[in-house]
């Protein structure tokens, strides 16, 4: 599935415009702060109903505008079917439409649109940043793999927020029990999905890292380490989780927050047997994040049966020649790519099905391919 046309109106510094895209490589060239990344953000909005920058509606809306929208028409690879997805927003809400009909469940929207992989300089924080960045990476990928997972996440966050507030207000055990239960039900699923994902991701990413002669290891660090014994039923796992919560209740009350659970977990990454976060060089962090991103692309292609759309924001300069080649090799196989760069030479490669766009002062103009 690929984006044939994209129409932007009232977003960031972008001129209102309608663009036809290549089903292969789309290169956006321009100086800094001209709107290249804003255009990628608009694409992410059209596919995922949210900005990869986690921006608020107010930030996304063009100054002085009350409404904005992005409309993308997607083309299915073989069957030739097409759908049109539209996200409209005002300062407070986003509204999603598929083929002109409003969709009120985000899950229903995500099931219709292609998954997406974003790689930009901020992605390097997966290697070095706080645990929260890695959790967000895992959860985002889980939603990409199965959009209905968004419900589990929402359920967990809601229960957590309610439970934490109840803890701060000193609610008693019986009043708290229902929220504990909600937390347990969603938490067990969340833990299980993350563990399975880390295993799958680890295998693929390690294979890519091996091409550079380095051994990559991923492991999931759970603050509630369930035993996952043989023949354990779902009910057993919930009971185990519940007993962890119960044991931590005193401490949770003192601190006024739920001190253990998936919201406090981390993905631990090792390279050549040493912690990447503590000992990794800048170059190693880059290289590992690329391997993770390539693994992300592979997993999404397998799981969704449709290749993800790739957004690469100014990453050419981040990489040495070999890694760049490896990345482009992995991304360009029959996938639609949007890549931004300040200089074409940085990409330094020829692509088939390539379209060039010049980005200047918010205007994305067609340029004849050279």
């Amino acid at each position: 599935m690929w984006i044939r046309t994209i129409e932007v109106d009232g977003l960031r510094n972008l001129r209102s415009q309608d663009l036809e895209c290549s089903r292969g490589m789309n290169i956006l060239i321009g100086e800094n702060a001209q709107g290249k990344s804003n255009f990628l953000e608009a694409i992410s909005l059209a596919c995922q109903a949210r900005s990869f920058r986690q921006s608020t509606n107010e930030e996304i809306l063009q100054f002085g505008r009350e409404h904005g929208s992005v409309t993308a028409s997607f083309e299915e690879g073989g069957s030739g079917g097409s759908i049109t997805c539209r996200i409209a927003l005002d300062e407070r809400h986003k509204y999603a439409f598929v083929d002109g009909r409003q969709v009120t469940q985000i899950t229903d929207f995500l099931e219709r649109t292609p998954p997406m992989v974003v790689f930009r300089s901020e992605s390097l924080a997966i290697g070095r940043g706080s645990p929260e960045v890695r959790r967000r990476f895992l959860d985002g990928l889980l939603v990409g793999l199965a959009p209905s997972f968004a419900r589990v996440l929402r359920r967990y966050r809601r229960a957590l927020m309610q439970r934490n507030t109840a803890l701060k207000k000193g609610w008693g055990v019986p009043e708290l029990a229902g929220f504990d239960d909600e937390l347990v039900v969603a938490g067990v699923v969340l833990l299980e999905r993350r563990r399975a994902l880390v295993e799958d991701l680890g295998k693929i990413a390690a294979r890519f890292q091996m091409e550079f002669g380095e051994e990559l290891g991923l492991s999931y660090r759970a603050t509630i380490p369930l035993s996952y014994g043989d023949g354990q039923t779902l009910e057993d796992k919930r009971a185990e989780y519940r007993s962890f919560l119960k044991r931590g209740l005193h401490r949770d009350r003192q601190q006024g927050t739920t001190t253990k659970g998936p919201h406090r977990d981390d993905l631990s990454i090792s390279l050549q047997g040493r912690s990447l976060k503590r000992f990794g060089s800048q170059g190693q962090v880059r290289s590992v994040v690329i391997s993770l991103k390539i693994a992300e692309i592979e997993l999404l292609s397998q799981a969704r049966g449709r290749p993800p759309i790739l957004l690469l924001d100014d990453v050419g300069a981040e990489l040495d020649h070999r890694r760049r080649e490896r990345l482009f090799d992995a991304v360009s196989k029959g996938r639609q790519v949007f890549i931004t760069t300040t200089k074409l030479e940085v990409l330094g490669l020829d692509f088939e099905d390539c379209r060039l766009f010049k980005v200047e002062q918010g205007e994305v103009g067609n340029k004849v391919a050279n």
């Binding site: 419900r151 929402r154 359920r155 809601r158 229960a159 927020m161 309610q162 439970r163 507030t165 109840a166 207000k169 609610w171 019986p174 009043e175 029990a177 229902g178 929220f179 239960d181 909600e182």
Partner: protein, 198 residues
């Protein structure tokens, strides 16, 4: 320049659920063009609503009588009480015409964030009804939201020493779904397939 009389009514209508500026204006223009005392009839209905609607002292339903038509109906089964969050949910279940028992309106659900604890809900009154009126079964029909589920579980705790049987309204209602949006066919099935809470 818009007439302040029109603007005033548009502003009032806009505060109603599900009505935006555009729909509010449409309603006002419709009324202005309407013939045969439609405005007066509507005004009378609104006045009546304001003056005569009261809360049922037994179940918390809203109607023009206390006890409400459900509680006052001798045909209804008195040993079964269906516990709902809001009066709207009671109406949604009534629409299915499958249910012959009584109701109890909690007036909300447990929500620490919203500052709603057990004391803010009409749980004490429910306990009284169960203990003194020979209630056999409580069907807990709170919504399937986080708060609705948590409230259902809290009720299990409240009645754990009592002989009353607690059941939870069954599936067919989407998770996170709201009862008032459920069509009556789905609602009938949900009531039929209720499962015990423990």
């Amino acid at each position: 320049m818009v007439s302040p009389v029109i603007q005033n009514l548009v502003n009032r209508l806009r505060r109603l659920p599900g009505i935006g500026t555009r729909s509010a204006e449409r309603i006002v223009f419709h009324l202005m063009a309407a013939q045969g005392g439609e405005i007066a009839a509507l005004a009378d209905s609104l006045t009546e609503l304001g003056e005569r609607i009261c809360t049922c002292g037994i179940c918390g339903n809203l109607s023009d009588s206390d006890p409400c038509p459900v509680c006052g109906n001798p045909e209804r089964e008195r040993e079964i009480i269906c516990v709902v969050e809001q009066v709207e949910d009671l109406y949604a279940i009534e629409r299915s015409s499958q249910y012959r028992g009584l109701y109890h309106v909690l007036g909300g659900v447990l929500s620490p964030i919203a500052g709603i604890g057990p004391n803010e809900l009409s749980i004490g009154k429910l306990v009284e009804r169960v203990r003194h009126k020979g209630v056999r079964e409580l069907i807990v029909a709170t919504n399937t939201s986080t708060e609705g589920e948590a409230t259902a579980l809290y009720l299990v705790h409240v009645f754990k020493e009592d002989r009353v049987r607690l059941t939870r309204i069954a599936h067919g209602i989407p998770v996170g779904g709201h009862l008032s949006y459920v069509d009556s066919g789905t609602m009938a099935k949900a009531l039929e397939g209720r499962r015990p809470l423990s």
